[in-house]
């Protein structure tokens, strides 16, 4: 008998859709030309890359020439942060938050070592940064504001529109890591005054290893790599053509479906949250309303998140504890610490992220298993016993 699998870790990665895979396949061995080649096979492939660029631009309200393909969200974040810092003649000031993904957070820390100053803004208990704090933090040499559109762990949406307006009024480059948002919620870089935006195909049912960076026309960025003229020299290297084609198809489909799938996903999310909160001593992390449609992050007090995950896995349910990228760390998540959770509560955090394929039946099964898992683990827990 095949083991039951309920996948609720779409925040980590998503399955590639059939339509996306079908679009990609010919670009492995049928249309295999190098898009930089002048001959017919090259031109055919170049056409596919540019079509994907148009689709990506359309999904963001951008122009095709403002889209640069990369290897994913991490590279896009690195490119805009290092690239804008490198462009300066002298060290300057960056504003970010204390809950960014490591692909921004770690780069900021490295830029500090290189002489730049960084302000890591605090967030409230729901994980929201205050636009007033952003404005107050601006100094005469602030050259970049990098604040994520939604947090990958607790799902909280940031007031991107207000922050964009502040950045625009001061003439400061505003970058947002929108890896968790693209394909989930509508985004328009002009409406939101975003100057740079990172996205990654595998978060919206596209392939892994390919992403894009939107950069508003006229923004000066220094490339990280040298050695080729691809992507207008900003990101040299032969293009990952099947990946780019897949990204284009995936972003087209996922953005077109937002109006229909958003409400359905939010309904499932709210049902799972309500079911989990019926269990004694469970708290919801992140904002109760301003959160990603598919994100549920709770802390089961008196037990450890990894033990819950392991138990869920044995029941065929895949979830995660914080971001997958930090699962190798022993320290509690910097995001959960930033919203003020104490050490044991942070350790009890589990993230469920819903997406394509999840159904009410998945929730029925999960809500049947979790109370049993929690009870079993609490029976082993010294802090739960001393509480009683």
């Amino acid at each position: 008998m095949t083991k039951k699998l309920i996948y609720m870790d779409h925040g980590a990665t998503t399955p590639v859709r059939e339509e996306v895979l079908k679009a990609m396949l010919p670009y492995f061995n049928e249309y295999y030309g190098n898009p930089s080649s002048l001959h017919a096979p090259g031109r055919e492939v170049r056409r596919a890359v540019e079509e994907a660029r148009q689709k990506t631009a359309a999904a963001l309200g951008a122009k095709p020439e403002e889209i640069y393909f990369t290897s994913g969200g991490t590279e896009s974040n690195n490119l805009v942060l290092y690239g804008s810092a490198e462009k300066r003649a002298s060290a300057g000031h960056i504003i970010t938050t204390g809950i960014e993904h490591h692909a921004v957070f770690d780069v900021c820390q490295d830029l500090e070592k290189r002489g730049h100053r960084v302000t890591y803004l605090p967030v409230d208990r729901y994980g929201r940064v205050s636009p007033a704090d952003v404005e107050k933090a601006i100094t005469s040499d602030t050259f970049l504001i990098s604040i994520m559109a939604a947090n990958n762990e607790i799902g909280t949406l940031q007031p991107v529109s207000e922050i964009g307006l502040i950045a625009k009024s001061k003439g400061i480059l505003f970058h947002t890591d929108a890896v968790q948002v693209v394909g989930q919620l509508p985004l328009d870089v002009n409406d939101l005054n975003i100057d740079a935006l990172s996205l990654s195909a595998h978060k919206f049912n596209g392939p892994k290893g390919v992403g894009a960076l939107y950069i508003r026309r006229g923004t000066k960025i220094t490339p990280l790599y040298r050695g080729g003229g691809q992507e207008r020299k900003l990101r040299p290297g032969t293009e990952n053509v099947p990946g780019i084609v897949g990204l284009g198809k995936a972003v087209e489909l996922s953005v077109a479906e937002i109006p229909t799938k958003r409400a359905a996903t939010e309904k499932l999310r709210d049902r799972l949250i309500a079911g989990l909160l019926k269990i004694d001593d469970v708290i919801l992390n992140g904002h109760p309303e301003e959160r990603l449609p598919g994100n549920i992050n709770v802390s089961f007090r008196h037990i450890e998140g990894e033990s819950v995950l392991l138990s869920l896995d044995l029941e065929g349910i895949a979830a995660s504890s914080g971001s997958a990228c930090s699962s190798g760390s022993l320290e509690p998540s910097h995001v959960l610490k930033a919203i003020g959770l104490d050490h044991p509560t942070a350790h009890g955090s589990v993230r469920f992220t819903l997406g394509l394929g999840n159904s009410d039946a998945d929730l029925d099964y999960t809500l049947e298993k979790i109370p049993l898992i929690v009870e079993r683990l609490r029976n082993i827990s010294p802090t739960y016993h001393s509480r009683q």
Partner: protein, 124 residues
């Protein structure tokens, strides 16, 4: 990540609970990862007659606690003091390297309980 033996001890932990008439209690925790273990000992004729545990922690922490209790039941206190965290890990067939120093604290908790027993015994 975990082998079958670890998963077995995690899902079916042996000797879980408290001993209300314990002769000694030991406790240890990892500051780094937050795991906490509490060990309850019943000692008779210098031997561990009964042992129970409570653990807040990951799969490795729970499995280590369970395995340790199986390893020491019936042993003299001197023999039990000889058991190291590495012995517990080896009996489990190994733990992921990251877990060795954060979650495998069972022998430390046991030693704390034995030391507490000896202190209270000497004090009498």
């Amino acid at each position: 990540m975990y082998n079958e033996k670890v998963v077995d001890h995690f899902t079916n932990p042996r000797n879980v609970g408290e001993l209300t008439d314990a002769d000694a209690i030991g406790e240890t925790g990892s500051f780094k990862c937050g795991d906490t273990m509490k060990i309850f000992l019943k000692v008779k004729d210098n031997r561990i007659e009964d042992i129970k545990f409570l653990t807040f922690g990951c799969g490795a922490a729970i499995a280590s606690s369970s395995m340790m209790t199986e390893m020491v039941k019936g042993k003299t206190l001197d023999e039990a003091m000889e058991i190291s965290n590495k012995d517990v890990s080896d009996r489990l067939g190994g733990l992921p390297p990251l877990k060795l120093h954060c979650s495998n604290l069972a022998a430390d908790a046991l030693h704390d309980a034995i030391n507490n027993y000896r202190k209270s015994h000497e004090a009498v």
